[in-house]
Symmetry: C2
Subunit: 171 residues, 2 copies
């Protein structure tokens, strides 16, 4: 193969974009996430909840399974990477749906503890029954080894990003 201007370098020259590994990786991550949302949104809608609501329900269920007695809005905010005002709204709607409850926290009059109701627990069980195959279907483009590789790379990336976010929030 003779040295010819590659498609990338031609595009970089014309458009000013770099298309280095970092750009390609970031773009593919954003694109993959967009496609996953496209698939997951109608899936959750079948159960009458949104993806964000499911995030809260799943987090509460995990916390419950770990023996904790409810999570404060701040805890949910931290675990879900979502700001407190957004959590307030999601919890409002979940409460209106009768899936969670806001309880007072004994030692702290400011805080509120969110817990699953019986109805919420039932919904989580129902979703989880269908969840395995759904997730497998989404990741079916990769074999288990590749899925593990992806997990490893993203874990490493996540650690780095948490560092970035932490220093951004302290300064």
């Amino acid at each position: 193969m003779k040295a010819q201007p590659s498609a990338e370098s031609a595009r970089a020259h014309a458009g000013g974009t770099a298309d280095r590994p970092a750009d390609l990786a970031l773009r593919s991550l954003v694109h993959a996430f967009g496609l996953i949302e496209r698939v997951m949104q109608p899936y959750f809608a079948r159960f009458g909840v949104t993806g964000s609501q499911w995030g809260v329900l799943r987090t509460l269920q995990r916390s419950e399974a770990a023996g904790e007695a409810g999570l404060r809005l701040t805890d949910l905010s931290n675990r879900l990477l979502v700001r407190p005002p957004s959590v307030t709204g999601v919890i409002d709607r979940l409460e209106r749906l009768g899936l969670v409850a806001r309880d007072t926290v004994p030692g702290d009059l400011r805080a509120k503890s969110v817990t699953l109701t019986r109805k919420g627990r039932e919904l989580v069980t129902r979703v989880l029954a269908a969840h395995g195959p759904q997730v497998e279907g989404i990741l079916a483009g990769l074999n288990p080894g590749e899925q593990a590789d992806l997990h490893r790379l993203l874990g490493k990336l996540t650690s780095h990003l948490e560092g970035l976010v932490a220093e951004r929030e302290t300064e």
Copy 2:
């Protein structure tokens, strides 16, 4: 090592979650994306635009660099993985900011062609000047080889997901 209940299987038993490679990969992808948004949002805000607006501007700029004369809203919708009504809103605001213009399309009275204004083109240039280091900073947790691996895995996943989305939309 003796056969002991692993942390995963214990958690799976308690919480009903699987924690198979597919689950781990999906969760890490969602988490990484959330962290990236946390970092990118304030970055774009410095230039007076949002991430979605930047997506449109960058797409228009690429299209322009490829010699195309404007993109219809439908084209933007397809490239950005966003439904047409959402594109309408983003373009409304970009137009109000004077960064893009809606022109009529010669052969089709329904369609509208979106193009960058001079001001929009200047903003893209200004953002691109800072963009390389910003993206490198985000991906700095991975070396170039790992970045390429990530891109390859996500590309494969994307192909699979596009198939899923396509069959979902034809049925």
